[in-house]
């Protein structure tokens, strides 16, 4: 580190050292211009890296939310899943996934080079920038992967989860990501706009979560037949404090997720994006809290927490193209929708999603993607410099909205088919679900031979 400083001084002197003869104005001006360019690259790199760090930290948020909303006997398993999906995902995305997503496009469908970071030549400024961009992408890929962990919690074999998280980072996420975030992707060319990934990240995770939870079946005791009718029973989470901590961490990380998606600190609309992100989250929490209060009689804490996440997921696609007031509206809608969606999925569809991952990430991801087609405002589009048509409410007609819908359907279909087949296959060969006995005793003992909360006396009276 001491040395690094010296080096820096040399570098700076290399560019700005006092020449022995007075330099000509032109030479000084050109040096200054070169300096400005270098500086701007540095700002963009610093910004993108710091944003990536924040997004990385969302892994801790997901881990806390998922464990907080499930039972103590599966806590160590959930930690392990969150750690390993990021770890295996990092390696898988490094080796193959990134290339499939950002490599030279084969017909708009998948990438064909940039595997193993081979394209990032550190001798060049661009090579270094590619490193920063890669880091930002890997933490996004891991976010998509980790969503599934929650919906499949408390009953999935650890090995099956590892297999799944490799496949999503290796193939499923990169391919649909390619369609949208590779400039040559077919959806990108259609004009589909998903600034920070309501669809690319959250819906992909959410659809996979839906497929997984449905194929896996509910936890023992979640649904009981009473007089021939299936009734949902509550299986409360073991730590609302950790769940809430997780939501605060996610909200914090989302300030990297959305504003960071400019991957440019020089693009000052990062400020607008941070504002819309924050307002939508706040509005989501308010709306979900009120909906739960009206609907259930009491303001359920876990629903309000889901509401904040719903607002965040919903603003992720439109964050750069809508006004703060529109962000509040989007958040409010998401907050109401997430509560209703949790109810429908639980009480009508009888799909057991312990943490509400499908409602938060898939339903609100779809919602947010559509919101672009409604609320995209020319002024904000211009300010952030993205390619997007004005939305329905800003005189843009149905054009953007229909492209958004097309993208939603395409991505949904892709993920349901691929993730669904994988889970069905795992189920077929009996690798998907733990035994009844293990489920009752808890996956911590069954899968990892340890307990999450050693020494604490935990009621075992379910």
């Amino acid at each position: 580190m001491g040395m690094a400083v010296t080096v820096l001084v040399l570098l700076v002197q290399g560019a700005w050292g006092q020449d022995t003869q007075p330099a000509s104005p032109a030479a000084i001006a050109e040096k200054a211009q070169a300096g400005v360019e270098a500086t701007q690259t540095a700002i963009n790199t610093v910004w993108t890296l710091l944003a990536a760090f924040l997004v990385f930290f969302m892994q801790a948020g997901f881990a806390m939310v998922e464990t907080g909303f499930t039972r103590a006997k599966n806590a160590a398993n959930i930690m392990m899943k969150n750690l390993m999906d990021f770890s295996f995902g990092s390696i898988a995305f490094f080796v193959v996934g990134y290339g499939l997503m950002f490599g030279a496009s084969n017909g708009g469908f998948f990438g064909t080079d940039k595997f193993l970071l081979a394209h990032a030549d550190v001798a060049t400024g661009d090579g270094l920038w590619q490193m920063a961009f890669w880091l930002f992408q890997i933490v996004f890929a891991a976010t998509a992967a980790t969503i599934v962990s929650g919906s499949m919690a408390e009953r999935t074999k650890f090995g099956a989860y590892i297999a799944y998280s490799i496949v999503i980072s290796l193939v499923i996420y990169p391919i649909s990501g390619h369609w949208i975030w590779n400039a040559d992707g077919w959806l990108a060319k259609l004009g589909f706009h998903d600034f920070a990934g309501s669809t690319v990240v959250h819906s992909v995770g959410g659809w996979a979560a839906l497929a997984g939870a449905a194929i896996l079946g509910p936890r023992i005791g979640k649904y009981v037949k009473v007089n021939g009718k299936t009734r949902a029973k509550a299986i409360p989470g073991h730590s609302i404090t950790l769940g809430a901590l997780g939501v605060f961490i996610l909200w914090f990380g989302w300030f990297g997720f959305n504003p960071g998606s400019t991957t440019a600190g020089m693009n000052l609309s990062i400020a607008t994006i941070a504002v819309t992100t924050n307002l939508a989250a706040a509005a989501g929490a308010v709306a979900a809290m009120c909906t739960a209060w009206l609907h259930f009689g009491k303001p359920d804490t876990s629903m309000a927490l889901n509401g904040a996440l719903a607002g965040l997921v919903a603003i992720t696609a439109p964050c750069a193209v809508v006004s703060p007031t529109a962000a509040v509206i989007i958040g409010l809608v998401a907050g109401v929708v997430v509560v209703l969606s949790v109810e429908v999925i639980d009480k009508i569809l009888h799909i057991d999603d312990p943490v509400g991952a499908v409602s938060v990430h898939m339903v609100c991801g779809v919602l947010g993607t559509l919101m672009v087609g409604l609320f995209a405002s020319p002024a904000y589009i211009a300010a952030s410099g993205v390619a997007c048509e004005p939305g329905l409410f800003y005189g843009g007609g149905l054009k953007q909205l229909s492209v958004q819908a097309a993208g939603i359907v395409a991505v949904g279909g892709w993920v349901l088919v691929t993730a669904g087949s994988m889970f069905l296959l795992l189920k077929k060969v009996n690798l998907l679900r733990v035994s009844r006995e293990e489920e009752l005793r808890g996956l911590d003992i069954g899968e990892h031979g340890m307990e999450g909360y050693n020494g604490f006396q935990i009621f075992v009276t379910e």
């Binding site: 009752l440 003992i445 031979g449 340890m450 307990e451 006396q457 009621f459 075992v460 009276t461 379910e462």
Partner: protein, 113 residues
Amino acid sequence: MKLIVAYIQPEKLSDVKQALYAAEVFKLSVTNALGCGQQGGYHETYRGVDIEVNLLKKVRLEIAVNDNFVKPTVDAIVAGARTGKIGDGKIFIVPLDECIRIRTGETGSEAIG
């Protein structure tokens, strides 16, 4: 009057409660316990070191009943808790001299139910 103490598998508690309700036994007390019986226990490892867990988690029921309720109560517990596997649990019946309801001061068989 008898005090019935039963150790059952935790996951059987709701079945036992149902069976007790059917037998019109509505009052009971529950605690968590660890038990060492015929059931073997299991091995965990933590950081590669073996832990022998031979105290298994059990639920302990305590039910005070009048004498004519002893058989129905025992039957209900057995009906609710039996799976036929080792670890199903055990019932102990202890004589009960007196029972007092704190609220009213009633004693004996009236107080118990």
